[in-house]
Amino acid sequence: MTSLVLTLTETLRYRGAIGQWAWVLHRISGIGVVLFVTLHIIDTSWAVFYPDLYVKAIAVYQTPLFTIGEFILVACVVYHAINGVRIGILDNNPRWWRYQQRAAWIVLAITAVILVPVFILMFGHVVNFYNDPERQILPLAFVIESQLPFAVGIVLAFVAGILVSGIHGVIAPASAQPAGGRPHGSRLERFWWSYMRLSGLLIVPLVFGHLAMMHVIQGVFDITARDYVTVGTTLVNQSGTAVEFVANRWNLLIGGVAVWRLYDFALLALVVIHGFNGLRYVLTDYTAQNALLRRGMMYTCVLGAVVLLVVGSLALIGTIDQTAIEMAQEAMAKLHP
């Protein structure tokens, strides 16, 4: 903790060039995206497991607090993606070191150029929604209450990680390290270094496609729009429920292949592993001096990634039938009486 506080205050005090701020932004935007991805995977899985809860989750997404969050999220994703590409390119070409600082400025410029039209289009959805006299907005207290289970879950994940770390410490004390042995280098860290750069490149087109469909072409508000054609399909959302929206996409078969399920699975697997390994980098950087905490952070990240991969994959192979859509309709009627 002292290590984190020291790094934060001294980063503010040190007159580093843009590279330092690019690093700060990369970390903050990465943590922001991981946090949202955690909520998003869990509540999207509800479309399969608990249709009524999914309806509530999407209604929460349509409140002002989450609309502000959506703009921040999109900015985080775009900056993190473009800056990640810069890191990947320059890491593979150290001889271009001279262009590092300039490249960091170019990343900011590209991010801005992308965000201006994206924000205008996204804002259009917001204006449309608030112009609709029949719009229904959940109260703030309800929204905050709905996020409490996530907050509790995240805290529990950290507690569990540290507990497992404690047990690990008892079973295999630190003396298990080879004494005086010649280092062989960490193959695992080498793998992760390459993975982060390669997966990042693969994620960029997938996530930009996902953002375009869910936030730009159609907005979060259109998920529950009755008689709208669901984005990426030719099917109409007849019930105007979020569950039917998901069903339309996931049940679409092209040549016998559930393309959106495959797309979402690729996104799920790549993003969760990239995100939680990134989170591990951040968390272990500031807990390196304390074996219990450092291992704990590692276990927390592994736990988070495994839980999300399992929950997400189960949802992606699950079925959404007519009963689920009916349940969603009932839940919607109850939510906005």
Binding site: L6, R13, G19, A22, N92, P94, W97, G185, W193, Y286
Partner: protein, 249 residues
Amino acid sequence: MEVTFRIRRYNPEIPGKDKPYWQEFTLKDVEPTDRVLEMLHRIKWEQDGTLAFRRSCAHGICGSDAMRINGRNRLACKVLVKELGARIQVEPILGLPVLKDLIVDMEPFFAHYRQVMPYFVNNSPLPADGRERLQSPEDREKFDDTTKCILCACCTTSCPSFWANGSYVGPAAIVQAHRFIFDSRDQAWQDRLDILAEPNGVWRCRTIFNCTPACPRDIEVTRAIGEVKLAIRGGKRDGIIQVSQIETH
């Protein structure tokens, strides 16, 4: 001109001064071309003899007087007053234990330096003529830049990864390792790559680039670290020409 120095002081032996604090000194008749080190001398000699800082050659080659000056790591003997203005803030470099005022304990830094085997290793017999192990100018060029390091710690103590985690080997040690890893005559390069591939080796570098502008010797630190990372990923150093090949030229 008149210049105000704001200096971070600390003296563990004197009650009241055993917590870091700022002290200001004003100097008159300062020339814009004066170096910060000379001004520290003037403060010590004219105003406060207890001010402690390290310096040796005073000409930018011994690497003793690395300090954080106006927010950036530099050598006090290489930076001129006119580059900084009338208010100059001086504090010890960060990430190493402060012993007194501007003096830090360099031992953890040198421990990382020793860790990377910063010496030439070649156990093969001498060439037939018993003289030099030859190297092409192109091969010499590969590590020319990293031979310039003077171990002042400006780079390592500008690195947020090092501030957060003193176990990280740090930019300076990687630069020193680079000097031998990419020397075609050296035989321990694989060992050095293995040492630097440990979790607290090159992987803790997050390409923040504070190190490169901090280097008073203009070493392309970021590039050196990048080349070491690629060598670790590829498990080899590229473009090595064997001594035997050179002799046939």
